[in-house]
Symmetry: C2
Subunit: 310 residues, 2 copies
Amino acid sequence: MINRLIEGIQKTGAPVVVGLDPMLSYIPGFILREAYSEFGETLEGAAEAVFRYNKGIVDAISDIVPAVKPQSAMYEQFGVPGVAAFKRTVDYCHEKGLVVIGDVKRGDIGSTSEAYAAGHLGKVQVGSNRLSAFDEDFVTVNPYLGSDGVKPFIKVCKEEKKGLFILVKTSNPSSGEFQDRLTDGRPLYEWVGEKVNEWGSDFMGDGYSYVGAVVGATYPEMGKILRSVMPKSFILVPGYGAQGGKGKDLVHFFNDDGLGAIVNSSRGIIAAWKQEKYASFGEEGYALAARKAAEEMILDIHQALESRNS
Amino acid sequence: MINRLIEGIQKTGAPVVVGLDPMLSYIPGFILREAYSEFGETLEGAAEAVFRYNKGIVDAISDIVPAVKPQSAMYEQFGVPGVAAFKRTVDYCHEKGLVVIGDVKRGDIGSTSEAYAAGHLGKVQVGSNRLSAFDEDFVTVNPYLGSDGVKPFIKVCKEEKKGLFILVKTSNPSSGEFQDRLTDGRPLYEWVGEKVNEWGSDFMGDGYSYVGAVVGATYPEMGKILRSVMPKSFILVPGYGAQGGKGKDLVHFFNDDGLGAIVNSSRGIIAAWKQEKYASFGEEGYALAARKAAEEMILDIHQALESRNS
């Protein structure tokens, strides 16, 4: 799957993933009204609106980006119907040929991580059937529990040829509270990065490992160091756009081959129609606004990478 | 809710929570056969079996323990039907008067943690309705992202009078890999414990904070230190029984008032019928075997606390 992700990046020229993190406040009124008129102002109605909104965006961007990243929380907030909309979104994105990174940030003791891994990436045995549950291509994993919380995910990834992005240095303002703590002269996130490198070293695709890392665009200097700590790990970079990261902050996340990183934007793309800059699209044009914002993001990253090389 | 949990502990005399972590291998054949005959060997069939199995156990233990802890992973592995069985379990446990600790170990950047908190503990606004989604009473939270990943949960807890258990020192063998790293002379878990104490200090119930901690029974010496670092935080203690913790390992997790900790057992109770020791119950008696195992666990903890005082 890491090979497929890289092929997708090369084919589209876009090291970009679109975060499908729908809040109801991002969804155009006409979609909400239609969903509520069918299902009421209920969890079912909200979940239906979320799926239709996602579908519009996916239709508009599936030929220019290789991957999407639905954020589990935004679906779980609508309960069981919300989780069903998450699954419909995963399936629809697969129909459209996109790689799906489930941003679930799971992680637990060994036997529990096994169940998460089976549910999100693998298969579960029910009687004589082996069944897929959510069936994402990658998931994000929280490393706080150490190796035996991560290895069950790696085991399932090996069976299914799927991949992981382990949280190393997150994009949020207080990520340093624990992640930056110095131990033996190096911050915790570097030790986590070392482990990511180790976990991935015996699980390689053609050029990169199946075990990637999450490092926030908001911390470019740390990204530079982590790039060298984990040379064979793909880095999923959140925090571009709405969280403050810019193209020029991203160059150090990439290797000299122009690969090694995939940059996420959520709000900045999917809610572009609400920005002054894209107001001319109107609410009916929300998906085209998203496409336009994605194109501009791709260009921004290209320009930053080119000026690095010049 | 922390007051209600404490009342429940005092009323039952049981500082015990039963982990509802169903694996299909724990479920008696007669339940599986019934569920599969109605729903097939499908995710729906597995989820139905899980719910029926849980219901039997809950009926058998709801008068002797104050709380249950369903583990999200065990339901997510069966996809959307599994998550629906999680929600049915939460609701059924509420009908039976039990406090429900959702073992979800979520945690993300601020806006995302807000959505998790709304979905699991709070309410979500859909049109003119404010709706509950999963509606647990407590959830477990992963602290790796720092304060701004935790505070949105605290905000919702304040609105809803609900509570948290933050992962501090987990019960698994490799938990020390990152959690034990020394910074400024103290292991990371102590710094996390300090933060738990701080986060909880302005959010107190009658005697204990709404912000509790998870500390594994498998690390009793660390539990002793963490007890003093977080004197007003309730400690949720996993790792009893099947993971190796015993009553005598637990005494330091309790304060002198006999409160301050609630001990979880999952497999050791819910799959008791599969142990040699409880074989006489047979598979039809699985719920009574669970009750018997819970009674013995309560007695083991009582005896350990009494011998501490003598």
